[in-house]
């Protein structure tokens, strides 16, 4: 219960930050030359000045920057994210359509990175300075150093073009309409390569963190005590070491949920996934301010939610946190 209060307090504290971020993004985008009507004209391949003026009035772009910002914040207070100029729909709808792909991709990548990072980290720590450690650490370094888009394209070349095992892009097969379990499987297949592409980099980070913290905890007194009591090695690792070594990993998840949203722009473009990352990129190019601010808002909420869960996990892993001292 105490941890909920704690997390709730942090939740409340993030609201001013959120508003500051929104104002910041709004003002930053004003610095980019051109507005959504210019972008629209670029897309149409021409149009006359009278039409442009009419469109500016329609989208409220003829108002001053402060009036536009004021309008936006006032709408936000009423939980209205506004109307998207590119999509011709309410921003909330546009985001809701894109959210599932991003959440699926993020969850899959984070779980993949966390799970394999943990296993490989433990394996490396247990065989420290022997061949498994060297192998795992070298691999980790490689994945860490490799550019995401390059890995994605190479994965497509190998698995989609040569071996023809996995689809090269898209969220699901649209030439046939699957339903139910078959559709789930189809989407899962489409997500394999993007998940690997996005996840391997994070796995490399987790692997190193896990290896480091395992090595640290393995040298602590309580581990020696456990061993001297005659406990077998597996039990020592699982019950005593792992639980303590996990804390820095969990901290990292909270931090990386945010970075992952940024990384997903590249992965979503390479694999043509209809996610939030690409939507954000397109909104910038199209100067669709409402949509961009909506995405910032929703992403911020996502990060806050992940951190909230991390707080809960902390309490589970380390009872001292709940004690509140």
């Amino acid at each position: 219960m105490r941890v909920l209060v704690l997390a709730g307090r942090r939740l409340a504290a993030s609201i001013p930050t959120l508003i500051l971020i929104l104002i910041g993004v709004f003002l930053l985008l004003q610095l980019a030359p051109g507005d959504t009507v210019d972008a629209m004209m670029a897309q149409m391949g021409g149009g006359d000045a009278a039409t442009a003026k009419q469109l500016r009035e329609f989208y409220g772009l003829d108002l001053s920057v402060w009036a536009q910002l004021g309008n936006y914040l006032w709408r936000l207070v009423r939980l209205d994210l506004g109307f998207s100029a590119i999509y011709g729909k309410p921003v909330a709808t546009v985001i809701a359509e894109r959210l599932p792909a991003t959440i699926l991709l993020m969850t899959a990548s984070l779980s993949f990175a966390f799970f394999f990072g943990l296993i490989l980290g433990v394996a490396a720590a247990r065989g420290v300075n022997k061949w498994p450690d060297t192998l795992i650490s070298t691999l980790g370094l490689m994945f860490y150093a490799m550019p995401t888009f390059w890995f994605g394209l190479m994965a497509i070349v190998v698995f989609s073009i040569y071996l023809q095992w996995l689809p090269a892009g898209g969220f699901e097969d649209i030439t046939v309409s699957y339903t139910g379990l078959r559709r789930t499987l189809d989407i899962a297949l489409h997500l394999v390569l993007p998940t690997l592409t996005l996840g391997l980099f994070y796995m490399a980070i987790y692997l190193r963190i896990m290896r480091g913290s395992m090595l640290e905890v393995l040298n602590l007194d309580f581990v020696r005590t456990a061993r001297s009591k005659g406990m077998d090695e597996t039990r020592v690792v699982v019950r005593h070491v792992l639980r303590n070594a996990l804390l820095p990993m969990v901290t990292l998840i909270g931090l990386q949920a945010g970075t992952m949203l940024g990384g997903s722009v590249v992965v979503e473009s390479v694999f043509s996934l209809p996610g939030l990352g690409r939507l954000a990129y397109e909104s910038v190019i199209q100067r669709d301010l409402n949509t961009l601010l909506g995405i910032v808002f929703v992403s911020a909420l996502l990060v806050i939610a992940v951190n909230f869960i991390v707080d809960l996990l902390y309490a589970r892993l380390d009872p001292r946190i709940t004690a509140g001292n």
């Binding site: 051109g34 210019d38 149009g47 000045a49 394209l153 989609s160 892009g169 898209g170 030439t175 473009s269």
Partner: protein
């Protein structure tokens, strides 16, 4: 005898094609019904109705669902689609279209002249880009009966201009779904178009795909062949090439792939990469000069810049076989308007360039630099980016320092066409079958500020203004052609814009596709005869 010769010709053609494409066998050449054709869709649009937006991004989808009065046939000549015949009054102020009977909209309502009237007056004349200019003097469309539409103009409208403009600017929308339904631009039908075309709109998932399926009640007998068309949204060019190779995409239109991927796929027998079928979508690479800079207002400087660029070298090393030297604002594929004499050309001559700059009084400083210019490259094409760098390096050799300013689409238009914050700009000019549609506005003075792709260079020339105005209302076809010859020569002499490179969009298509690329604007056309071999 004649028969045997024909048969022999046929056989040899078949042998030639079987050598070129060994996977094709004769039996497959009977058109096959069925199949799903998947298309690379690179840039999503705000809406899909071609009556409201003239751009290939809309035609590539909307052009399969909606139809226009007139299209171009294989030889590039106007051929009736929703119109069966047309006739102009001798004074050029009345043009009468007889419409095709028995055509129905996808929702079952009949297609009539009322639809044409509404679309022309409310969409083409008021909203459609380029349509507003084309139909500026349209006063009314009369509908004496459901199959007759009479266009009335205040000033003479050349019939050949209208017929060459209508393939792009003549798509018809259903009146009953727009009239009295509020703002036309915001009508939801724009994103779920209803037409008379061979394919019916099914679904649009933003960021993912658009699906259309066969229209069982299509007016052309036995058409279309395909069951479905799926447009896959793929914004990354490299990813699109990969999806083509993986068999997920059949067709990438309008130079959608990178130059290197196009060259690579061109060598793969599973694909055909060519410019065929895009002759109606010719474009030139341009350099626009801002006359507000005193250096550029001097014709010797503009000519010097043209002479300083080794265009054949650039084409050969960067654009491959898919481009050629440009000769003027009217590209050579325009059989109707390409003049016999294009006026002055500017061959590569660095010495002459330096001499012209010296004469103009811009001597090099101690560092060798004469003056600096800001160059804005348009962000829509790999070739434009490459060309900007090429301009920068070539002009450095003659003492002109170039600062390249990169922006995205909105930023480019704002800075060039609204703020005039450029010295040189480089981009594309897309030619639309008749110079009056979208070419002459690049040269005609008095264009309102902020109108993209119009004369915003501060260049005023009463001579060319008069040629442009005369040609726009000249009803005699031969005289029009000759006026546009004068236009091209004047443009090349005064050089407010230079058009050094001529290109045709590239198509990459699966070798399984049949009846493709058979008209000059095939990517935009209706695909009623397209079919897929097994």
């Amino acid at each position: 005898m004649d028969m045997t010769r024909r048969a022999a010709l046929k056989t040899s053609a078949a042998i030639a094609s079987s050598v070129l494409f060994p996977m094709r066998s004769f039996a497959q050449e009977t058109p096959r019904k069925g199949g799903v054709f998947t298309v690379h869709y690179g840039a999503e649009q705000r809406q899909l109705n071609p009556s409201l937006q003239a751009s290939t991004g809309v035609y590539i989808i909307g052009g399969k669902i909606q139809e226009q009065l007139v299209d171009l046939d294989a030889k590039g000549q106007p051929v009736g689609v929703l119109a069966e015949s047309w006739e102009a009054a001798p004074d050029g102020k009345t043009i009468t279209f007889k419409l095709r009977p028995g055509v129905t909209w996808h929702d079952g309502k009949p297609f009539t002249s009322a639809d044409v009237q509404f679309t022309a007056m409310e969409m083409w004349k008021k909203i459609l880009n380029y349509g507003t200019t084309l139909q500026l003097f349209l006063t009314a469309v009369d509908t004496p009966d459901p199959l007759t539409a009479v266009f009335r103009y205040e000033r003479p409208m050349p019939l050949n201009l209208l017929l060459r403009a209508l393939p792009d600017l003549g798509y018809v929308s259903p009146r009953h779904l727009y009239e009295g339904k509020g703002d036309i631009r915001q009508n939801p039908v724009n994103l779920a178009p209803v037409g008379t075309g061979p394919f019916k709109f099914v679904q649009y998932e933003r960021g993912q795909h658009v699906i259309a399926e066969r229209n069982p009640n299509y007016w052309r007998q036995n058409a279309p062949y395909l069951d479905r068309i799926v447009w896959r949204v793929v914004t990354d060019r490299a990813a699109a090439a990969a999806q083509m190779e993986a068999g997920q995409i059949h067709y990438s239109p309008f130079s959608g792939l990178t130059i290197s991927d196009s060259a690579r796929l061109g060598k793969d027998p599973r694909f055909i990469v060519s410019t065929k079928g895009n002759e109606g979508n010719a474009r030139t690479n341009t350099i626009e000069f801002n006359f507000r800079r005193k250096e550029l207002a001097d014709i010797r400087v503009r000519r010097a810049i043209a002479h300083a660029l080794d265009i054949p070298f650039f084409i050969e090393n960067f654009l491959g076989d898919f481009a050629k030297r440009g000769t003027g604002p009217v590209p050579s594929v325009s059989t109707d308007f390409y003049p016999a004499d294009n006026g002055p050309q500017y061959p590569f001559d660095k010495k002459l360039a330096a001499k012209l700059l010296d004469e103009a009084g811009f001597k090099p400083s101690t560092g060798g630099t004469r003056f600096s210019l800001r160059l804005l490259p348009a962000p829509w094409g790999e070739d434009i980016t490459l060309f900007a760098t090429f301009i920068q390096q070539s002009l450095a050799d003659v003492g002109i320092k170039i600062e390249i300013v990169r922006t995205d689409g909105g930023g480019y238009l704002k800075q060039v066409y609204d703020d005039h914050a450029f010295d040189l700009a480089t981009g594309w000019h897309q030619y639309r079958n008749d110079p009056a549609v979208s070419t002459t506005v690049w040269y005609r003075s008095g264009q309102p500020k902020g109108a993209p792709w119009t004369n915003q260079w501060d260049w005023t020339d009463p001579t060319i203004d008069k040629i442009i105005d005369d040609a726009a209302t000249e009803v005699d076809a031969a005289r029009r052609k000759s006026l546009y010859g004068d236009f091209v020569r004047r443009a090349n002499t005064e050089l407010p814009i230079w058009t050094p490179i001529e290109q045709i969009f590239l198509t990459a298509i699966s070798a399984k596709a049949r009846n493709h690329s058979n008209t000059p604007r095939w990517g935009s056309s209706s695909w009623h005869d397209l079919w897929l071999a097994e």
